[in-house]
Symmetry: C2
């Protein structure tokens, strides 16, 4: 038993090293790699991924898990050992169901399809990607077929949001949509918010430094992380103990991009940095699900980062750092500007209120495609109609419609989007629970003290890593499973005030 | 046959990926890693190293090589396949002789001993490292014992300089020493050169940019490389096709450090960048030996980078970039300053004329220790005596004596130093051959055109990678095996002029 556990940990350590090394190669590719490195990097990444997969899905791991499982059931559910064996077994079963041939085929499809999409999007050429999208859909169906399921999308949702399924997500999303469509309509009938105070040409390095100052206050630890510039912001754990790096981007003339993308990625970063070091070198050393991860990026970006309290502390600092640029701007004016709601075309640029409608559209469409109720060729038209219906705006072309996200074109159709809105729902639910435990949090935030909130999140969410499922963490932390009420209440309350509804 | 070769290439590709990934982790550790990453990085590196070693030394590789070797002997010696099988077999035999237990023991010793040395050097505490040095010596003897040998140092020399042995190195080094000791004495009797024109406080980024401009002209390709700052400069290949990165350091008040360390590392970098892309993903995709590698760093740093011709082109550019700092400095004055000869204590800071005496001392001592003719406890005293004898200067303490290099303390005793001076010898031999083929090279250099020289080196040295041994490359390129005559002629000629001998 002892010996078998030791051996299991040894193999998991190797798998972990291979995966974190691939993460560093990936980070390097996005931040530092000279252009001439590109040709070989893809193969390096694919090889490391394959070696990790082979090692993790080896017969030896299967036998060790088989031998250890009965003993694990006797141990306390919370113990490190029980969690390690339980979670590893679940991941092992998921991974071993995928034939190596399928994994290789998917990897080839991914890189071909992504390359085609990169050219097709600027050229507004949906016809060019349509056959690849068909293939992404077939691969999604094929992947789902490796697992028993009630609904064909269930195994694909479970890949990133274990414990969720189509039925539950649909219920949550229909509650959201029913509340958001009228809320957007109500808000956009009001006079638009003036956000011109944000449209400033500011030195890039000062913008980055200010964003870094904010997230340092939040609790992102730069001694175990760093910040770099990339075209698409991301957070990535490259090694243990918790070397978790974030990236951001600059958009000339708009402070929002570097600022809120930094707060967002730092939310992901703090989650990973906060995982119990005892879980290092194992599959437990990562966030519990895509949705729970997103709850942390959105909590720090929006619930905290776009709150009045937060800027009570930081607006004076912003004025100090950029003398002359924000002199006459009041807290109210600034708070309204960073929370401006607009009917817009692009998901990743959308405000808090409209964002989920973009996500739900995509979720509904991928489920419909998997079910066979929506054909790939009908997608652009369906997109336009649904945008008009939910957001009252119609994309003038596919570039800013069905072609806008890399998802679907860089992998499979299925399970790609639900995590974004599940994250929003959970962000408010967790924040409400933190406030119930510590009603002083908003007042602390207005003094620039984020330690109580960060401490509560670390204690109740971060440290667990993947020891528990996302749902278990939520229940422990908030006393209930996922529910939309706190999120809808948060949105309604905040925007009723801003827009005088 | 076809199938076996395909399979061999497949495994070698995986080994290559693991090794290059470790190289990137190492580069990152030295340049970008936040301090909190340090604790886990060592284990990540050790794990990747072990996985690469296990894969390379597997029985399957042995069987494939066994099966392929007879056919390889039938092929043309120059063919890619013959070279791949021949060199892989040699490396396989070398690696498989080392028991895994020994490799692990050496790795543990290395990290412990290095940590002790890092503390002991600033404290001038030889007694603290002496037991570790004893262990390094035992490990060196043990490693030598895995191979048949004439002299105990032979297998250790062959580890990094395959084809060389104690007898040959001793002969070369005694020729060198016999010429250099009197040359140093003769030079240091002359009035010292005034190098005050180099001692300038200049903006760090401008110094780096100037060094980068120089090596770009030499032929270092920044589209397949980059330059960063580190405490100890190095060059490292992190991926194929030839992503080879260099680092340098800044020393306040002295332009020489960033400048010549960049030229040096770019020499290593150009060698690796110049290897035939057909050799990528195999053990042939690296320089042929430590000595030949060093010949390229020293050729570009010294033979070219400290030549009058080179500065005929670059001194005006230096004046432009740093207005006011070098206005009155003549080419003669500058050329003398960058070639100032001094009796000094530290190998890595030594000038061209005294440098090899530092190296030969270390080589002689490691051979003497291996032979049992020199005890570890007698080393500090022996060091002082030999320094006095050869260089006419005595270290006031061990910090700047026997404790100055990490070598010996970060691995084994044996084979650690000969490459530096073999490199110097070969640098002049190769340059002389290039001049014979292209007498126009110095005149081209004075116009800032390095393409003929770079092209000749690429054609005759770089592209071969490890396809041939260092000695084979030298014979093909210069018509003879390694010989000190061109190097001694070069030094004598250059310094006779500078010091009016």
């Amino acid at each position: 038993m002892e010996e078998k556990l030791r051996r299991l940990r040894e193999i998991l350590r190797e798998v972990y090293v291979l995966r974190r090394s691939a993460a560093l190669l990936w980070w390097d590719q996005a931040t530092k790699m000279p252009p001439g490195g590109a040709a070989g990097r893809g193969e390096q990444l694919a090889t490391l991924g394959r070696l990790a997969h082979e090692r993790f899905t080896s017969e030896e791991v299967g036998e060790l898990l088989e031998a250890l499982a009965p003993a694990a059931k006797e141990m306390p559910y919370d113990s490190d050992e029980a969690a390690l064996i339980r979670v590893t077994k679940r991941l092992y079963e998921r991974e071993t169901r995928k034939p190596a041939e399928f994994v290789a085929r998917l990897a080839r499809h991914t890189s071909e399809s992504y390359a085609v999409w990169r050219r097709a999007r600027p050229e507004n050429d949906f016809a060019a990607v349509a056959p690849y999208l068909e293939r992404s859909l077939e691969l999604g169906r094929e992947l789902a077929g490796f697992y028993e399921h009630e609904h064909i999308a269930d195994p694909l949702i479970a890949e990133s949001d274990y414990g969720m399924n189509t039925k539950r997500v649909r219920k949550l999303f229909s509650e959201l949509r029913e509340a958001l469509v009228p809320l957007v309509a109500e808000i956009t009938e009001k006079p638009p918010v003036d956000d011109s105070c944000l449209l400033k040409e500011l030195p890039a390095h000062e913008q980055l430094a200010f964003a870094a100052e904010m997230v340092s206050h939040f609790g992102y630890d730069f001694s175990r992380g760093r910040q770099d510039l990339t075209a698409h912001p991301f957070a990535v754990k490259v090694s243990t103990p918790q070397d978790v790096r974030i990236t951001t981007r600059i958009r000339p003339g708009d402070l929002r991009d570097p600022l809120f993308s930094t707060l967002h990625e730092a939310g992901h970063g703090m989650y990973e940095q906060g995982i119990d070091p005892n879980l290092a070198w194992t599959p437990l050393d990562r966030g519990a699900s895509a949705g729970l991860h997103e709850s942390q990026s959105r909590l720090w970006e929006n619930v905290v980062g776009r709150s009045r309290e937060c800027w009570e502390h930081f607006l004076p600092r912003l004025k100090e750092r950029f003398p002359g640029h924000f002199d006459g701007v009041s807290l109210e004016e600034f708070h309204r500007a960073i929370n401006k709601v607009e009917r817009s075309l692009i998901r990743t640029d959308a405000d808090e209120v409209t964002y989920d409608l973009h996500v739900i559209l995509r979720f509904d469409f991928e489920v419909a495609m998997l079910e066979g109720d929506l054909e790939v060729r009908d997608l652009p038209e369906a997109w336009r109609e649904r945008m008009k219906q939910d957001l009252g705006i119609e994309p003038p072309d596919d570039r800013d419609g069905v072609l806008q996200d890399a998802h679907w074109y860089d992998g499979i159709v299925g399970g790609q989007f639900q995590g974004y809105s599940l994250g929003n729902i959970m962000s408010a639910q967790l924040y409400a629970a933190a406030l119930e435990a510590h009603p002083e949090v908003p007042e602390e935030i207005s003094r620039g003290d984020f330690s109580t909130l960060h401490g509560w999140l670390k204690e109740n969410v971060y440290r667990h890593g993947s020891r528990y499922t996302s749902e278990e963490i939520l229940e422990r932390a908030t006393g209930s499973g996922i529910t939309t009420a706190p999120y809808l209440e948060y949105l309604r309350g905040k925007y009723a005030e801003i827009y005088d509804l």
